[in-house]
Symmetry: C2
Subunit: 325 residues, 2 copies
Amino acid sequence: MYRLGVDLGGTNIVAGLVDESMKIIDKVSCKTNLPRSAESIIEDIAMLCKKVVNQNHLEEAEVASVGVGVPGTANRKTGFVEYANNLGFDDVPFVKLLENQVSWPVYMDNDANAAAWGEYKAGGYKDDSFVMITLGTGIGGGVIIDGKLLRGVNYAGAELGHTTINFQGKPCNCGRVGCFEVYGSATALIEQTRYALEYEAAGENKKKKSLLWKLCGNNLNKVEAKNVFDAVAGGDYFAKKLLDDYTTYLAEGLANVINIFQPSVLCIGGGVSKAGDVLLNPVKEKTNRLIYSKNSAVNTNITIAKHDNDAGIIGAALLGLEGES
Amino acid sequence: MYRLGVDLGGTNIVAGLVDESMKIIDKVSCKTNLPRSAESIIEDIAMLCKKVVNQNHLEEAEVASVGVGVPGTANRKTGFVEYANNLGFDDVPFVKLLENQVSWPVYMDNDANAAAWGEYKAGGYKDDSFVMITLGTGIGGGVIIDGKLLRGVNYAGAELGHTTINFQGKPCNCGRVGCFEVYGSATALIEQTRYALEYEAAGENKKKKSLLWKLCGNNLNKVEAKNVFDAVAGGDYFAKKLLDDYTTYLAEGLANVINIFQPSVLCIGGGVSKAGDVLLNPVKEKTNRLIYSKNSAVNTNITIAKHDNDAGIIGAALLGLEGES
């Protein structure tokens, strides 16, 4: 049997067809086009699901279920998305609305939970405890303990991005001050880069020496996280300093996660994680200096996600496997 | 059958005799008298265990086990205390050394885990997820998920006191900066009080108007956390301001814990928690303003521990109940 996994994001909706070996056979997508109603978004999810099944010449009966990763609080018991800030969802009977549109049973979970679950299962991790941190627009967290997702009493648990690491620091859009995601997300890295470049340009010599200027086309609004890693690869001192600060922030948040869970594996996913070792090596070194168990014989293995963008789709698809998540 | 529970602290060692209804029948104690060797401390633990059994006219065979709560990393698999900063323990074969001295099987766990376990079991909480924060010399954490203690891959998990909430803030003796315990422990409250009183005394008018001066006998070295609560009860403005700051710090750390675990119950224990509602009410209000799930229908119940000092002894005693913790 195949299963459908949907990644419902603020920018794109992606539906993937997943086979029994947990591989994505095919995927289709459309723009989320916010703002629009939950009903309209759910119609598009149904359309994408049917489309990917049809274009692979499958019967609907060959597909067992649809799972959706939602960027918000997904109450699996009631089937309601209680709250999804980026989508503008507030108490949406999500499962019912989608089941009205498709012939398959519908499952849902928080998107970071789905990603952690997909990476954990498809990545072949055998460990009992596994934490995934997704560095993207925000910071998502997914926690697996004793082989089960940690969801919390109200399905709003594992919000690792919304733990303060600096309560006297920068405000977060969740209403708190100094959340991990304000310092460690891709968005944060972009802001740190813009700020530093503005500072360089406004300096005494009004110079724009950093390679980053070239990489962003001299346009601060076009800075991407990737530019920083490319500039580091190009030997740019300025970018190296930015990366050094950024990995210092990341280490503070990751050391918190380790001191709390001491998981077997702490996996870093999301766009920024594509940088690979140039990110991972300093993060590991700095985090291991901060953790409480630095003298322990066994410590958490900090690693980069293997499935990255696909983890969310695979994990969502696997939500239909009863009792598995 | 009875069980022995031992609370091994930096100041006192207390051994309690616990009956099948999870009540402490009797307890005996001695000073820890640091610094001294692990062997010497373990001799005293054995002595206390035998003493409390004898003075209650029990046969040794009527006692099933000894459990010890250790302020450090207690590796239950190897029986070694890998590290206990306050005791000066470094890779001590604790279980073996104590089993050499007594006729009972010996169990051990981290002291905060033991306290959480004791409060959870003896407090009659029926919830799957339960977190206890102990506000004492430091901040201890104990986490129960799906009815099981969260220990981490190396038994150093749930160090909730050693998560930074202000990485640009005050240094912690764990080597990090801005740990929760630097702001939220009893020690922190005492330091905040001393600092504020020094500041008052050094002010322009060299005045010592706060009731706190009287309560600490005009001696800043004798300030206790209790003084602050007594001064608040006496209407002291100065103490009210201190408590307001302290509960603000506590709320930052507790909101982190909730955003991570969303447990059914978050229980506050330790000396400071004896203050009761004057502490709990502002902490609840401030924490609930900070949490990510503020609009959720179900939220974590923040409460004060029922068993407080006894929880550690009861929990340690219950460690012997196979498979229970």
